[in-house]
Amino acid sequence: MRARALAGLSAFNAVSLALGLAFLYLPIVILVAYSFNASRLVAVWGGWSLRWYGELLHDRAMLDAAWMSLRVGVCAATAATLLGTLAAVALARGGGFLGRTLMSGMLYAPLVMPEVMTGLALLLLFVAVDAERGFWTVVIAHTTLTMCFVAVIVQSRLAGLDRSLEEAAMDLGCSPARAFAAVTLPLIAPAIAAGWMLAFTLSLDDLVIASFTTGPGSATLPIRIYSEVRLGVRPEINAICALVIVAVALLIVAASLITKFAGGSRDAAAPL
């Protein structure tokens, strides 16, 4: 189907598509290409080399930042998945409780909230409760940032599920909680997994909120890169950026594959 769609492109559409993709990916291609540049000077091409990837292994500060980002990502994504799934289930299955539409809207609002404001609000909160800023404050901030994405993904999956599946489980001897665990949970598991991956990549990418909420000695990778770049771009930075791009791309592809797989089985589960 994809091949046919490409074959069916007119010349105009082909040019539009090429321009669009170039606009999106040319900067990234240049960044990745320069990560293989043998020259220390960023703007001068000196031939192919893996030198900067090797030097990266000795850049203690950069590795620490990467490790910090990884830990923050795993913790925040896990917490966000838990909270987001609970919120989605409550909204999709809770029946018509008072203020449900308001709740639903409030859950999605952070999706469009400017990050600077979210970051500032969280900073004020942490100062107000006198929390020492560091690893855990970034985890909490990233949980806040990403849980609504998880909720949206899980809720849309729940909305597509036949309500009578859970009723059938109850009819066959499951208590409501047991019916959820035995039937609903396995069916929304792909959405939960996709939500986790999306939350992890968002956390890995985030600079603004992390820089508001982190403390001394707890720089995440984007913060570290940003502060280094202000002193001048080093080729190692290109190398680590290329690695992050690969990691994020893999996760996004995995998440969309999982969602697609889940979508397929949902259609099959639908009644004739």
Binding site: S164, L165, E167, A168, L172, P186, S265, R266, P271
Partner: protein
């Protein structure tokens, strides 16, 4: 838990009811979906709840399953009020309209689901699953997933799953709505046969009167949250209690007129155009004082003869008219006949020969007649 196969085909007064629904009301907001409804079911009967969409039949079924709680009234199963009992604690199983097969489980795991929850030993579960799949003729499909089955096969898995726990009462919510007509007819016959063999009490919800008449021992017709008539299919069809039921269950001609006499168990009406009178037997006393009356006749009980034919001369209920049109429907042809005075009656004539009846074509003058005992006097 399977009841011994009984020969009970209709509610007999002596059998104590398995299920008693006593004045049950369920409201959604201000709207009474089920309105002070009472009904008794005997063990082993096949009962159909028939009604147009929105009449409350599904709500009633869901109350029997435990998914809805009545606002008032009691649901007694074997004498015990189950209204407050949660679905998973009731000896009742339901087959859902969407089948609700678990898409992540194979056919055998779907059927075994309820048995595992009941904590049966493994060997017994395996034996019961095999028995159920044999019952619905799905041997060899154990490892398939629901999305690898046809609609008819999925329907049978749903039936096997609902029967596996050997419920006291099996509820079926529009079980054939998703099947095409041919498959539906054969499935109806199989379902009835299965119910006879198991002796389990079945309650089916349907909006299809043919389906209800085919499978059920007794039918309860629902309208706006109430049961308007309960009886065996024949009684419902031949003796409808009201104009609404007469029209809902099958096709019927309503002949209205002024009451001429009501004596000796016969009602005689004069049609508005004057002259022609029709007569039908009325069993009960009826409303003696009513000035107007209505006699209903099913189309297949009306006979047509060319107007110049002398056959049946002098018999009652001979109405002169003209054929408007003829609709060929295969086994029968439906004739619309305009009577003098404007009333159009429909007559269904069996196509007993391939040639048909050429002298009853459109425009022909005919005499429509019916026997007095084939007319139903409708009071409501």
């Amino acid at each position: 838990m399977i009841e011994p196969t009984t020969t009970t085909t209709s509610a007999s007064a002596t059998a104590s009811p398995l299920l008693r629904i006593v004045a049950v009301t369920k409201r959604f907001g201000g709207f009474a979906a089920v309105d002070a409804l009472s009904l008794d079911l005997v063990a082993g009967e096949f009962f159909a709840l028939l009604g147009p969409s929105g009449c409350g039949k599904t709500t009633l079924l869901r109350m029997l399953a435990g998914f809805e709680t009545p606002d008032h009234g009691a649901i007694l199963l074997d004498g015990e009020d189950v209204a407050p009992v949660l679905p998973h604690r009731r000896p009742v199983n339901m087959m859902f309209q969407s089948y609700a097969l678990f898409p992540h489980l194979s056919v055998q795991d779907n059927v075994a689901f309820g048995l595992r929850r009941a904590g049966l030993p493994k060997a017994e579960i395996a034996a019961r699953v095999a028995e159920m799949l044999a019952l619905v003729r799905l041997e060899g499909f154990e490892r398939r997933k629901p999305d690898q089955l046809s609609g008819g096969q999925r329907q049978r898995v749903a039936l096997a799953r609902a029967l596996a726990r050997r419920p006291r009462l099996l509820l079926l919510d529009e079980p054939m709505a998703a099947l095409d007509k041919k498959l539906r007819q054969s499935t109806q016959a199989e379902l009835k046969e299965l119910q006879r063999r198991l002796g389990t009490t079945f309650v089916i919800v349907t909006h299809d009167q043919e389906e209800a008449m085919t499978v059920a021992d007794r039918i309860g017709v629902m309208d706006r949250g109430r049961l308007v008539q309960v009886g065996p299919p024949r009684e419902l069809y031949e003796t409808p209690a009201s104009r609404w039921i007469a029209g809902f269950v099958g096709d019927i001609n309503l002949i209205e007129g002024r009451v001429v006499s009501r004596e000796g168990g016969r009602l005689v009406l004069a049609l508005p155009d004057g002259g022609a009178t029709v007569m039908a037997l009325c069993a009960g006393a009826g409303r003696q004082d009513a000035a107007d009356g209505c006699i209903a006749v099913r189309p297949e009980k009306i006979r047509l003869a060319p107007a110049d034919s002398a056959a049946g001369e002098g018999a009652p209920n001979r109405l002169a008219g003209e054929v408007v049109d003829v609709t060929y429907q295969g086994s029968v042809s439906l004739y619309r006949v305009a009577l003098k005075g404007g009333l159009v009656v429909r007559a269904a004539l069996a196509n007993a020969s391939r040639a048909g009846v050429p002298d009853l074509g459109p425009g022909r003058a005919v005499t429509a007649s019916f026997a007095p005992e084939d007319g139903v006097v409708l009071e409501a």
